[in-house]
Structures are given as C-alpha cells and as structure tokens.
Amino acid sequence: MKETFFRSMTWLHTWVGLLVCWVLLLVFFAGTVSYYRYEISLWTKPEIHSDVFQNYQTENLTHQLREGQAYLSQHAENAKDWRINFPTERKPYLSYSWQTQPEAGKRRGQFIEHIAHVNGQDMVTDVRNSRGGNFFYRLHFDLHYMPAKIARWIVGFCTMFMLLALISGIVIHKRIFKDFFSFRRNKGGRSWLDAHNISSVLALPYHLMITYTGLITLMLMYMPWGVMTAYDGDTRAFRAELKPGREQVAASGTPAPLIQLSELLPTVKASWGDTPIKQVVISNINDENSRISFYKNTGQSVTDLRIPLIFSGASGELVSKASSAPSAANATHDTLMSLHTARFAEPVLRFFFFICGFMGCAMIATGTLLWAVKIRQKQQKLIKQGNKPSLGLRLVEGLNLTFIAGLPLATCAFFYANRLLPTQMADRAQWEIHSFFAVICLTAVLAFFDRSLTSWRRVLGLSAVAFMAIPLLNWGTSSQHLFQNMASQQWALAGFDILSFLIGIALWFARKKLAQTHTKTSNRVAASTAWAKKGKRVSTASTKEGA
C-alpha cells in the first residue's frame, strides 16, 4: 500500500505540474513583479520624476484639502467621484483625481489624475498613458485578451493544481533533509532535479502560503457554497454583513452644497490621532446624499481592510465609523489576504517576498526543464538514429523556451515601449501591453523553428543586454538619471534601475553558463546517462509515469 501510494503521488506530481506549468509561470512571474507595483508605476511616469515627490506632512493637511476641493470643483464639476490622495511611503506625491460619469452601459467612467508639484503652484496634467505596475498586477489574475471572469477561473484552476503539486511533491520527497544540503553541479538531469528541490524546499512555507492565500483572495467566486446554504445565495447580504458601511448610497437628486472638507479634520483627528490619512473620497458631489470617506494609511500593520470614516457631505455629520475589533474569522481572513498581497511589507521584507517569488518561478521552470531533459535522454537512441523527438517533447521544449526565456524579454519590451512610444499615441497604454505579448509570440515563433541551446543563448543574451541597458534608457528618457535619483534618495526609482541591472547580469551569467554547457555536451550526456543507470530513483519513476 505504501509503495503504491508513493507511486501514485509521483504521478500526480508530474502530471498536475506539467499540465499547468506555463500558465502558472506567467501568473507567478506577474505576481512576483507586482510586489513592486507602485514602484514600477512611478518609473513608468517620467513626467513626475522631478519636483513632485514629497512626504506626508500633517501641518499641510488643511491647506492641501482646501486646494484640492477648489481644484476639483473647478476642473471636475460633473465627475462621478473625487479623490484627494495624500503622499504615502510608496506613492510619494499629492494628487487630485476623479472619475468621469460612466458612458451609457458602462459601470465605470474614466479615471483622471492630476499630480501636484512640490511648490504647490501648478499641476502635472500630461502624464503619459500607461498601465505601469498595474499591468502586472492585473496580469497576475485577469491574464489578458479575455474576459476577467474566465481568466480568474483558469488561474484558480491552475492554482489548485499548484497546491496539489506542492503537497504531492512533499510526499514524494523522501529524503527531504539530505537532498536539501546537496547540489550536484553539471550533472545534467541530476542537477536540474537538485535545483528543483532547492528552489522548492528553501521557500516551501512561502509557496504553500502564497498558493493557499491566492485561492482565498478569490474564494467568493470559486467556493460560494457557504453563502448558498447560509444566505440562500444572497451574496450582497453576506458582503454587507461582513463589511458594514461599504454599501453605496445612491444620489437623491436634490442638490445640496458640499461642506468644506477641512472642517472635518478635527473629528478625524479625534478618532485616529496623528495617523496619516491616505485618501479622501467624495461621492455624489453636491447632492443631499453625498458622502465623504476618509481612509487612513494602514502603513506597515498587517491588514488589508480599508475601514473608512464616512461623513455626510451635506451636513458634515459622521455617518459610519469602523467597529473597533474585527471578529476572529474576519481577522484571520484579513491576515491571509494581506499575507498574499504583502501590503504591510517594508523594503527589506518586500525584497524577501520578491526573492521567494522568484524561487517559485525557478521551481516551476526547473520542474518542466527537468521533465524535458529526462524525456530527451530516454529518446536519445531514437533521436540518434535520425528519428524526430516525440510531439510531447517538442511541445514542452518549445513552450519552455517561449515562457522561461521569453518572459524576462517581454517584460523588458514593456518597459522600453513605455519610454519609447510617442506620448500622444492613441491607445498608448494598450500598445505597451501589446509589445509585451508580441515579444512572447516572437519567441514562440523562434521556438517553433529552433529549440536548440543556440536559441536559448540568443534570447537570454538579448534580455540580459536589454535589462542592463535600462539605467541608460531611463537616463535618456527621464529628467532624473540613476545617480541623481541616488543623490536625492529616490530609492524607488534608483532601485528599479539597480535591480534591472542586476537581473541583466544574472541573465548574462545564465547565457554564459549555457555557452559552456554547449561545449561540454558530450561530458554531460555521459554523466547523466551514468546517473540514470544508478537504479530506480524516485525521480526516474516519475518520468516513467510522466512519459
């Protein structure tokens, strides 16, 4: 019984892993990149790189609120809502934004954001149209070129498979501690297996956490059955009970002038003390039912709950206040959600999340590379006799090249498009995204014709050079270059350039490594066949089932 259980788990691991690994890689990659969502968004808007960044200052609040209200009533009188966004650690600028009235048949209007200069005199209004870090954030669960609902089901399905692959992977990993400390270099398949083990085991708690919490972020869509039984399927009632005070109030149609926002500050201060305010949202402007919501900057506390103080915009009366302590279930849910999004993470912890995310990408990539290497070994005799490799192997190798080597290059293409496309171009933001996917498609075409190591070297080399040149690109297309950013301590912008450069170097090493492997192929094949002969290891069994 024990042996069969073991064997069936090996199967399960190979199959669920192989079936969804490329979508998973895309999702994991996009998720990892979105840890720096706001930083990327800053970098993709060079218009605001100089004279805009400022810190939150309590003593300026009254003035900024007044200015904001005056500015918005002048420029956005008929908007659906207004937002006044105060500087935070990761979005260090003051901005006034609004949503236009949605066109007929649409739920949302267009979002427009004007950003204040430090001097407080004029506004930056011509920021280029770009999705910035939000592209990667959305790509992480909405994919692209398809309805969000379908995409979320696909992503949920793949995530579930990932959870299964993780758990069955732990089961089949008999010698988890011994293997943990062994890495055999240049041993072909054995090295890939070791790399797969290390990247999986080293960050295993992270992988399990991120997969399970990922499912939980969209659980109301995937598993609504509790709502079905306990609320007879009334999702609205459930949401209202879960988060009181979030219901939208409809406009009454009776006009009523909006009070001065700054008059509310003493009441806000009475509840929150000196906690920084992140955002003020005004809806149903100049209506009897208008609402003013203050959101605090939750900063580095572990929470994703946005609990506002809501005032009536006509009378200034406090309408809704957060309950002091959330229930145990709510707190658990909130913690799990924020573990996934890592909103609380300060720079060092954020970097660790980022590294763990990359380990996840490495785990997926080495897993599928391992499969391809093993199957190629198995078919070696046939291939030497002049037969073609099997369709499955060709497909896996092609997709590996497309996604593993193509994703970094595509990301680079996105950043280059952001800086090089003409700023007034129609659908500009969309074309940045098109260039991301165009590069993936081009890599796929290359992979269709040539899946050899030469192709890998070319793609990796190109993305290495492209990444290393990102500081140069920024120097040429922004008012602030890397050293100026370092001097003025703009670490979000400087960090982007530095990290890109380091990633470029890493990719260059990967390319160089492949070049060496190419010349040593004969040694490697000898070594790996010797290894394959060493009797029935766990992993050999897995490829047998996998084939």
Partner: protein
C-alpha cells in the same frame, strides 16, 4: 483513433484512461466534496452567519486537496469516483437535514 486492440476492458484499465479518470474524479467529484463540505460547515459552525461562512470558505480548499489526493491514492479509479461521490452525497443529505 487506432486502438492497439479492441479489448475494451483492457482499454479502460490502461494507463492514460486510468489517469484521466482519476483526474476528472479529483477535479469534479473533488469539487463536489469541497462545495458540499463548505456548505455544511457554513451552517453548523455556531457563530454569526457571516463568520461561519467565511471560515467554511477558507477551509474548503483543504477539503479539495484532500479529496484530490484521495482520488489518486485509492486502488482503482472506480473506487475514487465511488468514494468521493458517496462522501459528497452524505454531506448533501446533512445540508438538507440541517437546513
């Protein structure tokens, strides 16, 4: 499609069909187990409704994983289907009974 032989029994017992059947059992019957399990939990946890629903939803994915592993660990794929469908049927009866 050319079958190696026309022995249907052998075909059904063959490896690809076996894996496919188990996978479908894990995906669909496993989902049924998770869905009925979380539906039942949402009713029986003695807390305010919104909280017990939240807990039931958060736990449902572990039921799903357990069911999928079950589907691959039992002797035959038929047993996988039978067990999972039976469990979800029992859970469903409990839901009807409790509500």
């Amino acid at each position: 499609m050319v079958l190696p032989n026309l022995n249907w029994r052998a075909f059904i017992r063959s490896q690809p069909i076996n894996i496919m059947s188990r996978s479908f059992a894990a995906i669909f019957a496993g989902y049924l187990v998770a869905a009925t399990g979380s539906g039942l939990l949402a009713l029986i946890i003695p807390l305010p409704a919104s909280q017990s629903v939240l807990i039931a939803m958060m736990l449902s994915f572990s039921f799903y994983v357990a069911a999928a592993i079950w589907a691959f660990s039992v002797g035959t794929s038929r047993q996988a289907w039978r067990d999972l469908l039976l469990i979800s049927a029992i859970l469903y009866i409990f839901i009807l009974w409790v509500s």
